[in-house]
């Protein structure tokens, strides 16, 4: 039996708009084994960030269960949840706007420690801040600088130190390297990997960058308009993508090597609106292979077509010999 630190069951988040309900996250199911990384990929607007935030209840879910270490955290009171969040932290995309500009580096890192009363003595707090700065590779001389004096890479290190201050078990990384230059991006990715090995962290890694997610994750879930359309171990997904959307997405990555100008799976057509979407495949209008009858029958289910490889495409499921409801 796998030691699953987190299980998400039928998680939904709908937003009310003037034109109806917007299905931002629509019936998502997955689990993560302790110490592993799940990559959540998709294009802007697919609901990957909302999923991350709904798991932490930074946004309250509409329905569904989020089982963290055997407990459904969606049932916890606000106060219990506050306590629970020590175990579940988040690192945000933009290190330029996620840090308080009026606080120094040491104040920013110390804030969660003081706020959650983890340490009380001033000296202990100071020691802990220095220790955290060392862990994330920030030199001691930056302790009294303000965020605006630092570059993006160092600011992201502060964000990581702040998340680590709570000694979390799970960290949701929401596009942690998207705002950084490639040479700095690699520094931060390596740091996150080292920390995972050292501290046994579990990550949910949210990104739109497919080469980064491939490098970083054990499992990858591909999202399209609020739903997971394919989920598989990283290697399997890149070698054998089954869902037409995953195939298009993978073929769109520009590869920095000679002789790679290749035939793309071009996507055409309009994107289905996430407001009150019909009960059919949401990729239908852009799909090149869809079957008018099969794909409009109902909202596709995620089926395990080979060990650990899940796909929500009725056409491919049928091709692979599975019964489609």
């Amino acid at each position: 039996m796998a030691d699953n630190i987190l299980e998400v069951k039928h998680l939904k988040k709908y937003f009310k708009t003037s034109r109806g309900m917007l299905h931002a996250v629509d019936d998502i199911n997955f689990s993560i084994e302790r110490g592993k990384t799940l990559g959540l990929v998709g294009e802007s607007g697919c609901g990957k960030s909302t999923t991350g935030r709904t798991i932490l209840r930074l946004i309250e879910p509409t329905a569904g269960e989020t089982i963290f270490e055997g407990k459904d955290i969606n049932k916890l009171s606000k106060r219990e949840m506050r306590h629970m969040r020590k175990d579940m932290q988040i690192i945000f995309q933009d290190p330029f706007s996620s840090l308080d500009p009026k606080k120094t580096v040491s104040q920013i890192i110390a804030e969660p420690i003081i706020e959650n009363k983890i340490l009380k003595k001033k000296l202990e707090i100071e020691e802990r801040v220095l220790e955290l700065m060392d862990t994330v590779g920030l030199a001691e001389r930056y302790i009294n600088t303000y965020p605006h004096e630092l570059d993006g890479g160092r600011r992201q290190r502060i964000g990581i130190a702040r998340a680590l201050a709570m000694e979390p078990k799970l960290i949701i990384c929401d596009e942690p390297v998207s705002a950084l230059d490639v040479s700095i991006q690699a520094q931060i990715l390596n740091l996150l990997k080292e920390l995972q090995q050292k501290l046994g962290l579990t990550y949910i890694f949210i990104t739109h960058d497919l080469s980064v997610v491939n490098h970083f994750s054990d499992d990858i879930a591909v999202m399209y308009l609020g739903q997971i359309v394919e989920k598989a171990p990283a290697e399997e997904l890149f070698e054998n993508p089954i869902h037409p959307y995953t195939q298009a997405l993978l073929s769109a990555i520009p590869i920095p090597e000679l002789g790679h100008r290749r035939q793309r799976v071009q996507l055409i057509g309009e994107i289905t609106s996430p407001i009150e979407p019909p009960a059919e495949c949401r990729f239908l209008k852009r799909c090149l292979v869809c079957d008018k009858e099969l794909c409009t029958k109902s909202s596709p289910k995620l089926i395990e077509v080979s060990p650990n490889h899940f796909v929500a495409c009725p056409l491919k499921q049928k091709e692979l010999g599975f019964e489609v409801e």
Partner: protein, 340 residues
């Protein structure tokens, strides 16, 4: 006509020598571009690669004389586009050239369009000014341009906010190509877009470039995009070109340690277990550049000699040029990427 075309092929559309741009600010002098030479043949695409602050965009702006002055100071020994000396022509003449002979696509399609005019009007504006046609004719041509970039002409009457990011960028491309420019400067044209949309836009740019024989400068930080669309590559670091050549030369026979560092920083799709090898340290402060090679403080191969003089960009065969002193001192020097 034919003979003129032949002559053009031999010449270069772009010829820059010793371009220097500095910004004289209260906090000191920012040395943004520090003596670069660039040449681009007709119908060719040059990829200008580098990280934030390398001076790529400033170089492009200097070509169009768009660097704000003050605080910007631009100096160069030669700046010719399509045989015209850009340095000496009048502002009025320059305005005729910008948008017609040379046009530029900016990074952010969300802010490049005017929110209070329809997209049709915005495309027609540049046609009306440069081609001296009536408003109706210009609007008709604007409709044609929209269709060319894959947007139905009926949508010409809509406003930018009614379009998605990818479609806005297509509108920007339509504007920049409306007057058939000889040189198109695209500054990170797809950075703000999703990968599948990026693929569409790149495909479209490649098609249009072929169709209209446009030369292009593609400014990007993405080595993957360069491999997809460019013929030539120039890698910039701290206002210098550190390596230059054809795509095959720079990618196949990489010579500069910084170029190698950029490749090593990228996750490898084929070998996901490989640990990334980032470039340690940070880009130098452009108000206070290190003496000698600007990359030396971050370079794994640097020796004492490297910080003595700024290395010159030297030819190493073919069109391949590299600015690294190690090759001067050590005849057998090879970076790791070449050893494999």
């Amino acid at each position: 006509m034919e003979s003129e075309k032949d002559r053009n092929v031999e010449q270069d559309i772009l010829n820059i020598e010793n371009l220097r741009v500095r910004f004289e600010t209260e906090d000191g002098v920012v040395h943004a571009v520090n003596g670069i030479d660039l040449k681009l043949g007709y119908k060719k695409t040059l990829g200008l690669v580098g990280e934030t602050g390398a001076g790529k965009t400033t170089t492009a702006l200097a070509m169009l004389r768009l660097v704000p002055d003050p605080p910007g100071v631009v100096e160069c020994d030669r700046l010719e586009i399509d045989g015209q000396d850009i340095r000496s022509i009048s502002t009025a003449k320059l305005e005729q050239i910008r948008g017609k002979d040379i046009s530029m696509i900016f990074q952010d399609p969300m802010t490049a369009l005017n929110p209070v005019f329809t997209v049709g009007e915005q495309i027609a504006e540049s046609i009306e000014i440069h081609e001296h046609v009536s408003k109706d004719e210009a609007l008709k041509k604007a409709g044609d341009m929209l269709e060319l970039v894959g947007i139905p002409r009926q949508r010409a009457n809509e406003y930018p906010h009614q379009f998605s990011g990818g479609m806005k960028q297509r509108v920007v491309i339509a504007i920049s190509l409306a007057c058939n420019p000889k040189l198109l400067i695209a500054d990170e044209p797809t950075t703000a877009l999703d990968v599948t949309i990026q693929a569409q836009v790149l495909e479209l740019m490649n098609e249009l470039k072929e169709k209209y024989d446009t030369s292009m400068i593609m400014i990007t930080h993405d080595l993957g995009i360069v491999a997809e669309v460019c013929d030539d590559v120039a890698v910039m670091y701290a206002g210098h070109i550190v390596e230059q050549g054809s795509l095959e030369e720079v990618y196949g026979e990489t010579m500069h340690p910084y170029t190698e560092g950029l490749f090593n920083s990228l996750p490898n799709i084929k070998n996901r277990q490989a640990m990334l090898k980032p470039i340690h340290g940070l880009m130098p402060d452009p108000t206070n550049l290190p003496p000698g090679c600007p990359f030396a403080p971050r370079c794994n191969y640097a020796t004492e000699e490297c910080s003595k003089a700024v290395p010159a960009l030297k030819s190493v065969g073919g069109t391949h040029k590299v600015a690294c002193s190690r090759y001067d001192f050590d005849k057998d020097f090879l970076i790791d990427r070449r050893k494999k």
